[in-house]
């Protein structure tokens, strides 16, 4: 079809995060670990050395404004993946390149201070359990402020104002800013976590099973909030969930994980309607 002169390719959306061969192993590891574990062997435990390979050869990239879903059953490595990206866990191999960096950095050689800087400037995280993401006995406002301090915002009135507007945006009543999260409902705690995760205006938000454990009406409101924030702020997200409904509603593309590895990745509608891998077929056909 070369009958019209092609104009230059439109610039692709910026890559917010590129992950190459990310690996997380518990134990000494041996030469056989990768060959004898993973989806094809249905185990994470190396029969030779007993080490657990929680993540293996994970590679993907995430573009600006994109929502990437990660699905898989318990133990597949979904949470480990986002925790390694957020530097909650130290990956044992692989490279990552964040927006604005020229080269992918070896994650095992990143200094602690650099990890803290990347996390403070570029990422927000919302955990399934608010106890992990929040300090339940200090005020909601102080929880949000903590993230701002991590992002090196030190001016008191700016912090207070920003905390107020974030809590407002996530539909937490103004009077609750001085209440500790422990005194609030599960749905509200989750919204405070979201406010905290957004405090540094991150280009990348990681969401780990954020609606699990909430009842359906509360779940719906949290999902609506995430969708709205994505639309307004154009923020890129990695959404980990075992709930195909959540993935269908939120994700543009989806990774399917099993035994620490990616067995299939594709457009979310393709993964759900025309799954290729036997495991994905089982997963999709098991949903209610």
């Amino acid at each position: 079809m070369g009958d019209t002169a092609a104009s230059p390719a439109p610039a692709p959306d910026a890559v917010i995060l590129a992950v190459e061969n990310l690996e997380k192993r518990y134990g000494p590891g041996c030469e056989s670990c990768l060959a004898l574990t993973g989806p094809d062997h249905s185990t994470n435990v190396c029969p030779r050395c007993g080490s657990v390979t929680a993540l293996r050869l994970i590679s993907f990239d995430l573009r600006e404004g994109e929502i990437l879903g990660v699905v898989g059953e318990s133990g597949s490595g979904k949470s480990t993946l986002v925790q390694c990206i957020y530097f909650d866990l130290d990956a044992t191999g692989g490279r990552m390149r964040f927006d604005g960096q020229n080269d992918a950095a070896d994650v095992t050689r990143l200094p602690r201070i650099e990890k803290r800087r990347l996390r403070g400037r570029l990422m927000g995280m919302v955990y399934q359990n608010p106890m992990r993401g929040l300090r339940l006995d200090i005020t909601s406002g102080a929880n949000v402020a903590e993230k701002l301090l991590e992002a090196e915002v030190f001016h008191f009135s700016r912090i207070r104002g920003r905390a107020q507007s974030l809590l407002d945006r996530t539909e937490i009543p103004a009077s609750y800013i001085d209440w500790p999260p422990r005194t609030l409902s599960g749905g509200m705690q989750q919204r405070i976590q979201i406010a905290k995760a957004l405090a540094n205006n991150p280009p990348l938000l990681l969401l780990d099973e954020v609606t699990s454990g909430l009842d359906v009406s509360v779940q719906a409101r949290v999902l609506d909030l995430i969708r709205e924030l994505q639309r307004e702020m154009g923020i890129s997200m990695i959404v980990v969930s075992h709930d195909m409904g959540v993935i269908r509603l939120l994700a543009d593309r989806t990774l399917v994980m099993k035994n620490g590895g990616i067995v299939e990745q594709g457009l979310t509608d393709q993964i759900l309607e025309d799954p290729q891998h036997p495991y994905t077929q089982l997963l999709v056909h098991s949903t209610l």
């Binding site: 079809m1 070369g2 009958d3 019209t4 002169a5 092609a6 104009s7 230059p8 390719a9 439109p10 692709p12 959306d13 573009r63 994109e66 719906a220 609506d224 969708r227 509603l249 543009d252 593309r253 594709g266 457009l267 509608d269 393709q270 309607e273 025309d274 290729q276 891998h277 036997p278 077929q281 089982l282 056909h285």
Partner: protein, 234 residues
């Protein structure tokens, strides 16, 4: 040519059904220029919807190519293109009106439709304005405009679906039985909307149950036959 499909085939391999192979359609070829309408006909089970889904990449084609020339004059093979490229084309150029509307819960009909235009870069006010015009034209009662389509009747949902697909003025539009659940008045209004879009240069590939409608819209008709039972071949 805007789209050229060469030897496209699709079968499903059901690993969870002892590797059963189900053939959807085989060796489909056609080409289409801007403003043309290709009708897809054939009995149920012939793979009409599957063909549309393969062209949209909801299904992964098993074999063949789908060459698409985009608004910038660049050609890509949708059958194998990078997912980001497919997402870009869906966002900017290629639309799909299915039999069932994937409603987003708790978003009003008016916003759902307007957002479809906003996503293609139109100002929000223009989106709302045009959405109101079309809701009026397809006789959706005003009382429903601010409500979520998830509560609507089948026919109302389907009209929202059509408006949603048409309003974004895609370059290429796939239609899968868009008027099946509509009464004759709404159906003819919907068809005139589709005709208008076609006259503005949108290329379309459509499945219609009603052969008269199909013939009246189509510049060419491709008849699919029910696939032969699965054979041992690749």
């Amino acid at each position: 040519m805007m789209i050229r499909c060469e030897g496209l085939s699709k079968h499903f391999l059901m690993h969870i059904r002892e590797g059963t192979r189900i053939e959807a359609f085989r060796d489909v070829s056609f080409q289409l220029a801007p403003g043309e309408f290709l009708g897809i006909g054939g009995p149920s089970g012939a793979g009409k919807s599957s063909l549309l889904k393969c062209l949209y990449r909801t299904y992964l084609p098993s074999r063949g190519n789908v060459w698409y020339e985009d608004a910038n004059g660049r050609t890509c093979n949708v059958a194998t293109a990078d997912e980001h490229e497919v997402l870009r084309l869906r966002r900017q150029e290629i639309g799909y009106i299915s039999q069932f509307f994937p409603v987003i819960p708790r978003v009003s009909a008016l916003d759902t439709i307007a957002n479809s235009m906003v996503a293609r870069g139109f100002p929000r006010e223009a989106g709302l304005q045009r959405a109101r015009e079309l809701l009026e034209r397809l006789a959706i009662p005003r009382a429903l405009w601010q409500m979520s389509p998830s509560t609507f009747s089948g026919g109302e949902k389907q009209r929202i679906n059509i408006i949603h697909g048409v309003i974004a003025q895609p370059r290429l539009l796939f239609l899968d039985e868009p008027t099946a659940s509509l009464d004759s008045r709404s159906a003819s209004e919907a068809i005139s909307l589709i005709r208008e879009l076609k006259s503005q240069g949108t290329a379309m590939i459509g499945v219609f149950h009603d052969m008269n409608v199909l013939r009246s819209l189509s510049d060419a008709v491709l008849m699919l036959e029910r696939a032969a039972p699965a054979k041992d071949e690749h």
